[in-house]
């Protein structure tokens, strides 16, 4: 065992790896999350160059398989892939595979038969990314599955918070909004907790999972209390469908009771960092002067999204983090 090892000798621990796929943050260790965030750091710089291209994934074929409409996430992945010189194909498969006629497993097998290396998948069913990952050899990156997880969004949120706070340990971050239906919320809860942050959630109880109290998070019934507690708010998009399905009576009342407004933030005991995974409903869950205000890092999240996705693709492709800096080679 390790007890006999001299304290001053560096540990010869097994190198941290991400594994074949990135499906969720829940099963990851804090070391694995740390690895992605650290790997993302050198990749940030690539997007700042005049010539935004490195040969890291040259010869790799990546398929972006989007069964659900997405602009931001898909484009972010495409930029990450192209800036690392991967060959990419993006498939927008509208509707579910069931409606489409072809089953998900057939879609996967057909792609695999074309000898691809990675699949980035967005799907409306929870577990779809894992389903795919278990049936193909290629690396699978979950770009959002149903109401399960959206791990790269969680990672980019962590990176943005880390940029600002230096460390996440002990930081109080509150997720405000429709946690019940949000894959972003789940990935954030797991990621933040693993990185040592204190996590709060705030929403009407009708938009929180019934079992939320068993997650070890602070639950705030009123947004004023959440703002008083938090150092950062991650404000979730409230989808119009939730009102139509009867979870809340109206968007107007939601804004009045749960909206993150300048007036409420002005009463906070400290400056509160504002995150939002987008796309925003200005005037519903967040007011424009908050979204565009001095403490908003919403556009930093978007920028970090590309770097985080580059890091994820790079690590899954087998890259070692200490080589990430060197991997930028060629163009520098």
């Amino acid at each position: 065992m390790t007890a006999a090892r001299p304290a001053d000798r560096p540990r010869a621990a097994a190198p941290v790896r991400l594994g074949k796929d990135l499906l969720a943050l829940e099963p990851l260790s804090s070391e694995q999350i740390q690895l992605v965030l650290d790997t993302a750091e050198p990749f940030k710089e690539i997007s700042e160059r005049a010539i935004k291209k490195v040969p890291t994934l040259r010869g790799q074929t990546v398929v972006n398989l989007f069964f659900e409409a997405s602009t931001r996430t898909r484009i972010s992945f495409e930029f990450a892939e192209k800036r690392m010189s991967a060959d990419t194909v993006s498939i927008a498969a509208s509707g579910s595979s069931v409606q489409k006629g072809e089953t998900l497993v057939d879609t996967a097998r057909n792609l695999e038969a074309m000898r691809i290396d990675m699949v980035v998948v967005r799907h409306g069913s929870s577990g779809a990314a894992q389903f795919l990952a278990e049936r193909i050899e290629s690396n699978v990156v979950n770009a959002g599955d149903g109401t399960h997880e959206h791990p790269t969004q969680g990672l980019l949120d962590l990176l943005t918070l880390r940029d600002h706070f230096g460390s996440l340990t002990g930081r109080r971050v509150c997720i405000v909004g429709d946690v019940l239906h949000s894959r972003v919320a789940r990935s954030n809860v797991w990621g933040l907790k693993k990185m040592g942050a204190e996590v709060g959630v705030c929403a009407p109880r009708s938009l929180l999972p019934n079992a939320i109290d068993e997650l070890g998070v602070e639950v705030f019934d009123r947004v004023e209390a959440a703002i008083e507690w938090a150092e950062a708010l991650n404000v979730l998009r409230l989808q119009l469908e939730r009102m139509q399905a009867g979870y809340i009576p109206s968007l107007r009342e939601y804004n009045r009771v749960f909206g993150v407004t300048r007036e409420r933030l002005d009463r906070a005991p400290r400056d509160v960092l504002i995150l939002h995974p987008g796309p925003m409903n200005r005037g519903v869950e967040i007011d424009s002067d908050v979204a565009d205000g001095p403490h908003s890092v919403i556009l930093d999240q978007v920028t970090n999204g590309v770097a985080v996705r580059m890091a994820v693709l790079y690590l899954l492709a087998g890259g070692r983090p200490e080589l990430a800096e060197a991997a930028k080679g060629g163009a520098s």
Binding site: V105, G146, P209, N210
Partner: protein, 457 residues
């Protein structure tokens, strides 16, 4: 185990007939533990003799009559044949996933001498002709008896009562809209009242549809983590108490299908304490597995009602022990491989259960000391026959010769490819179970003999 050929009398091959027809030769099940809770019988080494398709003797050793076939049952349990009051045999409509013949053979392989087929077929079994079709197919199958259950409402639409009287005359033993709840309390009330004339239970699938809508698993921590819409326990319990209260109002016999929660158990107990005519069943999977089986989005752990929590499992185990829940039923629900090989939310509900029920119950309930073998036989054979008023469920002299011989300790590994059922969808695949039916006798005739090599594992 060996089967000695005791005489020259031949079957002749002309009466390959069906379950319930008389056997040509007497059958002596010799030297086993004769266990019949219906009459408090437990003989460590005894015999069961079947003559002319009926029980002639059960208890102490007897000598074999001339021409009798003798089956050596040393080390085995000889009990009344198991009766499953709840299975889905898919015919007519989905013969690709099961037929009455394959279902009846799967039942026999699992030690069941009789099963009740739910009416959610296509078309729905909601009239005397459809009931008669099931009865005829069952005769042809020549394996376990298959008792049809008729629909409560036409097309299972929950609107107009089906013709209970004509269906009973054609062979129906109960009515149910299983697969769906009877949403209207008024229709349920009327069904309970109307069924009294025919002495049949009204079996309800308890699910409050607005609460359960869109749900794919139990609502709780696991559903939250997996991002799957949950079905709260209350969806079942609200309908369970509604049905119990309607049974109190009407004096009808309500049978609650596949109970899955601690709350339901408490409500049934409440009803029984007040003398309300409520009976209930629980499935082997709800007695053994929890919602954690779903982790990894395993569609073979998807069923309705869903697998619940360890606390619910404990309550159900206690309820089947103390008799609050009367019977174990399989809710055998075969599905095509492709239908389960997909996104979790889109996969159909249900698992096959006929061929694993005994092994699951021995492994999870008898081995840990929750149930005795006598209680097991009661919940699987005696009580189901009694509450559904079916032949069998006893070894009293003169009763139909439906007998199960099982090895209480045989360990075996579940290999779905070896199932008689066309269905392969089981969460028990690869698990080692103890307890296996070796000989199944219907109407005095052996309809199933275990093909596995003799001897104890």
């Amino acid at each position: 185990m060996s089967a000695a050929d005791g005489g020259a009398t031949a079957d002749g091959g002309t009466d390959r007939g069906a379950a319930g027809r008389s056997a040509a030769r007497p059958l002596l099940l010799a030297g086993g533990r004769v266990l019949d809770p219906s009459q408090g019988l437990d003989v460590a080494v005894g015999d069961v003799l079947l003559v002319d398709g009926r029980v002639a003797h059960a208890g102490a050793r007897v000598s074999a009559p001339d021409g009798a076939e003798v089956v050596d049952c040393t080390g085995l349990v000889v009990s009344p044949g198991f009766v499953d009051v709840h299975c889905h045999l898919r015919e007519p409509g989905r013969e690709d996933v099961e037929t009455i013949a394959t279902g009846a053979r799967a039942a026999a392989a699992g030690g069941f001498t009789a099963v009740c087929a739910m009416p959610n077929t296509d078309p729905v079994t909601d009239n005397q002709a459809a009931v008669g079709f099931i009865a005829r197919q069952a005769q042809r199958a020549d394996a376990a008896r298959v008792h049809p259950i008729g629909a409560i409402t036409l097309g299972q639409k929950g609107e107009r009562l089906a013709e209970f009287g004509e269906m009973v005359a054609a062979g129906a033993v109960a009515v149910s809209d299983d697969g769906k709840p009877v949403v209207s309390a008024q229709i349920m009330r009327t069904a309970l009242e109307y069924a009294r004339a025919f002495g049949i239970p009204v079996a309800d699938h308890c699910e409050e549809p607005t609460l359960a809508h869109g749900g794919a698993m139990n609502e709780g921590v696991v559903s939250m983590k997996l991002g799957l819409k949950g079905i709260p326990s209350e969806a079942e319990e609200i309908m369970a108490i509604r049905d119990i209260l309607l049974a109190r109002r009407t004096g009808g016999h309500v049978h609650l299908c596949h109970m899955s929660t601690r709350g339901s158990v408490e409500l049934i107990r409440w009803g029984k304490e007040r003398g309300i005519r409520v009976t209930a069943e629980v499935c082997p999977h709800h007695l053994s597995l929890t919602e954690h089986e779903v982790e990894g989005y395993r569609t073979n752990a998807k069923m309705n009602p869903p697998l619940r929590t360890a606390d619910d499992v404990a309550a159900l185990q206690e309820a089947v022990r103390d008799g609050t829940i009367d019977v174990v039923a399989t809710d055998h629900a075969p599905h095509h491989y492709d239908e389960k090989e997909r996104e979790f939310a889109d996969a159909p509900n249900g698992i096959v259960g006929l061929e694993t029920a005994l092994g699951v119950l021995v492994t999870w309930l008898v081995d840990p000391g929750i149930l005795t073998y006598a209680q097991l036989v009661d919940r699987m054979a005696c009580a189901p026959a009694r509450i559904f008023n079916l032949p069998g469920g006893t070894l009293r002299s003169g009763a139909v010769g439906d007998v199960t011989v099982f090895d209480p300790t045989r360990a075996w590994t579940v290999d779905p490819a070896r199932f008689r059922s066309k269905g392969r969808n089981t969460p028990y695949a690869g698990r080692t179970l103890r307890g296996r039916a070796l000989v199944t006798v219907v109407g005095g005739r052996v309809v199933h003999r275990d093909a596995a090599p003799a001897g104890r594992a």
